[in-house]
């Protein structure tokens, strides 16, 4: 039956190409949606793991990086650096603000850093050098047409875009990196913190280990030395943020991906059904020749699987093209289409979808009347 399926596909190349395209389009939609979901989680993970340190010191009870406010006493830094095994502790502060003119506002994540935890790489412009410098993610730059040198007004305070980075966004929100000088200037000008020693300026400490030190041991030592803090490894923190993201985005993405699979079943079912109807006569003849139901079902299954073999690489290619387009048009999003585990799961899902779709015209095949062979065409 494989040979018959192959022949049937190659006998009408245009029709086969068109059907492969229809299935490929559905596969591409599934892969793009899955890739978008994976991208959301990957961004959450990267927000933590690209900060450059193996350990994170946070307010006691805080076990997430983004989407939660953490406040450490400002003197916590000295106490942490005094712990054996700690190389250096770098302050980081993060919180959400909104940016943009009224009617076109977007949230951004303000990430304040000092000696570590800043943008991974600058793709345009310069890093932060002066107090009011800011480095923004390309997603924000693209959305508002910002270039290095442009003003960036946040909370009524005027920063200057020094440089643009890439891949620094999470929770559909681009990052804006500033230095502590800029933060303090912002607070002073907005008059909300005349006494900085009482003001929550410190969210996390990024801890680098001394040579030979063990992360777990150092973490425990820090927690003993600073009881008002909790210490997590970068992996632990990233995992918790991903879990939070899954809780938030999981239901809606699950609904969308489920819908895409449903469309896929209908599309494949439609294609196989149309084909089966067209070949109803041939199935009747096959029955007359002595073929059993299982042979004919094997013919349908073989054809469906061959169609998948054609459509899968097309679909992956199309998904990759769409993902690249989305990331180019809106750099705040990441769409991970070519991730091996994701592709494997998607392939399994698509196979199941194809077989479910092929089952739709089952009745037609089973009821193919062999006496149709005696009728004129």
């Amino acid at each position: 039956m494989w040979h018959l399926a192959y022949r049937q596909l190659t006998a009408e190349p245009l029709r086969s190409a068109l059907t492969a395209c229809a299935v490929a389009a559905t596969i591409a939609v599934i892969l793009v949606l899955r890739g978008f979901e994976q991208g959301l989680y990957a961004q959450l993970e990267a927000a933590v793991t690209t900060r450059g340190a193996p350990l994170f010191v946070a307010q006691a009870g805080v076990s997430n990086f983004i989407a939660v406010r953490s406040s450490l006493p400002q003197l916590a830094r000295e106490r942490v650096e005094a712990v054996a095994g700690v190389g250096e502790a770098h302050p980081v502060t993060g919180f959400f603000v909104t940016y943009g003119p009224e009617g076109n506002r977007t949230p951004v994540y303000l990430l304040v850093h000092d000696t570590l935890g800043g943008p991974v790489r600058i793709v345009e412009g310069d890093p932060i050098r002066a107090g009011r410098d800011a480095v923004i993610d390309a997603g924000l730059a693209k959305r508002y047409g910002l270039r290095p040198g442009d003003p960036l007004v946040i909370s009524d305070f005027r920063f200057r875009v020094a440089g643009i980075t890439r891949g620094q966004s999470a929770m559909l929100t681009p990052f804006v990196f500033i230095g502590y000088d800029g933060l303090i200037d912002l607070f002073l000008e907005s008059e909300i913190a005349p006494d900085l020693s009482t003001f929550p300026l410190l969210s996390f400490l990024l801890v680098e280990l001394a040579p030979g030190a063990q992360a777990k041991a150092v973490a425990q030592a820090i927690e003993r030395a600073v009881p008002e803090a909790d210490v997590l490894t970068a992996d632990e923190l990233a995992a918790k943020d991903v879990a939070l993201g899954q809780e938030l985005f999981g239901p809606i993405m699950g609904a969308l991906i489920g819908l895409a699979y449903l469309i896929g079943i209908l599309v494949v079912g439609l294609i196989v059904y149309a084909d089966t109807i067209a070949r109803r006569r041939a199935f009747g003849v096959m029955k007359a020749l002595g073929f059993r139901l299982r042979h004919m079902l094997a013919a349908v299954a073989a054809q469906t699987l061959m169609l998948l073999v054609l459509a899968w690489p097309l679909g992956v290619g199309l998904a990759f093209a769409v993902a690249t387009g989305i990331e180019a048009l809106a750099p705040v999003y990441r769409v991970y289409v070519l991730e091996p585990a994701g592709l494997a799961w998607a392939l399994a899902g698509v196979l199941a979808m194809a077989l479910a779709g092929a089952a739709l015209p089952l009745r037609v095949v089973a009821r193919a009347d062999p006496t149709i062979a005696f009728q004129g065409e």
């Binding site: 006691a60 076990s63 009617g103 977007t106 949230p107 959305r143 469309i263 294609i271 149309a274 999003y333």
Partner: protein, 369 residues
């Protein structure tokens, strides 16, 4: 030709229904994200709408609540309360946070209420008391449903363990569920001494809110004051803005998918009837008459798909929201018009493939066996 084509479609009802269903699915993909953002943005401003202050006062440069950070000196609330035209000024603390309930970690926004506060708390209760004291918390009822907890349960808010004393209605949204705690508990967590986040200002009867807002900004340094309506609109716009690009992408992707399905379906239909097309041509029917019939066919499949999609959305969205309370889906008139416009373009574009096929059918094949 049109009659022939429609009758042909009718003969293959199952195929027609499958095409329309596939197309409907693609259209639902187009509208669903808009419905999510529309639903979310309505839910997101539920607190602001129900708190119903005449004017909202916040840190200068801040214009909304969701995903914003605002610090205002607490004493400014007293200052504002003394201004002419102000009946009351109620400060609240407000912070995005993470809450741990029954082993699950979820995003929440905490509103810290002053002791004895009579407003700015929950507006409808499913169970328990509305105003939490120190060490207490009021959660959205949906949280309780999702996690299977009830009154008296203990939850963790960034290291503080609080007892659930009330379950509120209407305070849940996917991105902005609101929990209520005592201001002192939130102060500890935010380490915000002497500052508040927002001040809810109630105007004297007859006082114009816009005038009052302007007066507050003149008389009190470094604050923004916005009338309720504008403040609410800012949050809605923010949510829709966040979703604008995703909605646009999904519209394009869903439309492209719908076009491919329709083109394929229409092509299959005419390809199966090649002989009849050849006969029609041999009988003198012109190409453009056949094109018109084919275009009518793609239009019919498109319209059927759109109608099915809207019926599905209308019937299923509330059901989906009930089954999965995290998602609120709202189908707006704008989304419907957009879907209809997209459908029109899709129908026109997808007629191209079968039309090309029709052009190439040779009437001579009518004579062949």
């Amino acid at each position: 030709m049109l009659r022939w084509l429609l009758k042909t479609l009718w003969l293959q009802k199952a195929s027609l229904v499958a095409s329309a269903a596939g197309v409907a699915g693609a259209f639902v993909l187009v509208v669903i994200l808009h419905a999510v953002f529309a639903g979310e943005s309505r839910q997101m401003v539920a607190y602001v709408r129900h708190a119903a202050a005449d004017v909202w006062v916040m840190q200068r440069g801040v214009v909304n609540m969701h995903m914003a950070s605002s610090f205002v000196w607490a004493w400014k609330a007293k200052r504002i309360a003394e201004l002419p035209g102000v009946r009351a000024a109620t400060p609240i603390l407000y912070s995005g946070t993470v809450i741990r309930i029954a082993g699950r970690t979820m995003i929440a926004y905490a509103v810290g209420l002053e002791p004895g506060a009579r407003r700015a708390g929950p507006w409808a209760m499913a169970a328990g008391k509305a105003m939490p004291g120190r060490g207490e918390i009021v959660l959205p009822r949906v949280f309780a449903e999702m996690t299977g907890i009830g009154l008296g349960a203990r939850v963790a808010l960034t290291g503080k363990t609080l007892e659930v004393v009330g379950l509120s209605e209407g305070t849940y949204s996917m991105a902005n569920p609101v929990v209520f705690v005592a201001a002192s508990d939130l102060e500890d967590l935010m380490q915000a001494r002497g500052t508040v986040s927002y001040i809810l200002v109630d105007a004297q009867p007859g006082q114009d809110p816009a005038e009052l807002a302007a007066r507050i900004e003149r008389e009190v340094d470094k604050v923004s004051a916005l009338p309720q309506e504008r403040f609410t609109r800012n949050d809605i716009q923010l949510a829709m803005q966040m979703g604008a690009e995703i909605i646009a992408f999904m519209t394009i992707i869903g439309s492209a998918l719908a076009a491919v399905i329709i083109a394929f379906s229409a092509y299959s239909q005419v390809a199966r009837r090649r002989r009849e097309l050849a006969i029609a041509k041999a009988l003198g029917v012109r190409n453009r008459e056949i094109y018109a019939a084919v275009a009518a066919q793609t239009a019919l499949i498109t319209v059927l798909g759109l109608v099915l999609a809207l019926l599905a959305a209308w019937a299923l969205f509330p059901l989906l929201s009930a089954l999965v309370p995290q998602i609120t889906l709202v189908l707006t008139a704008g989304a419907l018009w957009r879907a209809a416009a997209v459908a029109l373009i899709v129908a026109v574009v997808s007629a191209w493939v079968p039309a090309r096929y029709v052009a190439r059918v040779d009437p001579l094949t009518a004579f062949k066996g």
